[in-house]
């Protein structure tokens, strides 16, 4: 599990790679939150392009960050979901609170 964080024009992008399960989610959460709380970005962009597998822990990770960002009226966008990951995200209704971007990185409202 790897994480690359980049801040650009007030958007913090977290590029995730590797499987996301309960084991990996804990560390990811800590690292993302440590930076997010410091810089308070208006948008946190979670990029799942490098994630081959995710279970509902990944959904928990997204929803938890939506909650965190809402403390300063920030929003969360999600991109790079494979069809399998997208199924998981849609099953959870996570699209209601975080914006899911399609494969072309075009923003779509769900």
């Amino acid at each position: 599990m790897n994480l690359h964080l980049e801040l650009k024009n007030g958007t913090l992008t977290a590029a995730l790679s590797g499987d996301i399960d309960h084991h990996a989610a804990g560390r990811l959460r800590e690292e993302i939150d440590r930076t997010a709380e410091k810089v308070r970005p208006h948008t946190l962009r979670l990029d799942f392009s490098g994630v081959p597998f995710m279970d509902s822990s990944g959904v928990g990770l997204i929803l938890g960050r939506v909650r965190l960002l809402s403390m300063w009226q920030g929003k969360v966008t999600v991109c790079g979901l494979s069809p399998q990951l997208r199924r998981m995200a849609e099953l959870s209704g996570v699209g209601a609170t975080a914006k899911l971007e399609d494969e072309e990185r075009k923003k779509v409202e769900l």
């Binding site: 399960d21 597998f53 509902s56 928990g60 099953l91």
Partner: protein, 147 residues
């Protein structure tokens, strides 16, 4: 009448690092069936949810043993049973409701919903103080059935 044509049994401590091991082991065991990638991914996801439940809930404040046994049946269907001897679930029906969780803010409460969506059938047997056994059933389409 369907027979068991292959089976495997594993046990491991309820450490979160073993969540990945468990789904990898199931995946390796089933590869000989030449399953469709999506079907295998679905089952792996369900296994991950069930093992995580054992780690997070069954053995909440302790480390215990998780027992996993997988079977391949003659009709090509498979079952994976994940069992713990942890705290058990008092109200299984309640625990299976989507979004219900006792796992705190970072748990989405979707574990059972995911298992039910990604498998054909899910059986849960639990008794408080005794533990929980979750059995996942799924028919895996084979690649040679036509993609």
């Amino acid at each position: 009448m369907k027979n068991v044509v292959n089976r495997m049994d594993l046990q491991f401590p309820s450490l979160s690092v073993n969540e990945g091991f468990a789904r990898g082991a199931v995946s390796s065991f089933l590869l000989g069936l030449d399953p469709l990638v999506n079907d295998l991914a679905d089952l792996k996801t369900a296994v991950s949810e069930a093992v995580t439940n054992a780690v997070v809930h069954g053995y909440r404040d302790t480390v215990g043993t998780v027992y996993m046994s997988a079977k391949i049946f003659s009709d090509g269907s498979v079952s994976v049973k994940i069992r713990d001897k942890g705290c058990g679930i008092a109200d299984v029906e309640k625990a299976m409701e989507p979004l219900f969780t006792t796992g705190g803010e970072e748990r989405a409460g979707l574990g059972f919903a995911v298992m039910q969506t990604f498998c054909d059938r899910v059986k849960v047997v639990s008794a408080p103080g005794k533990g929980t056994a979750v059995t996942l059933y799924k028919r895996l389409s084979q690649k040679r059935d036509g993609e």
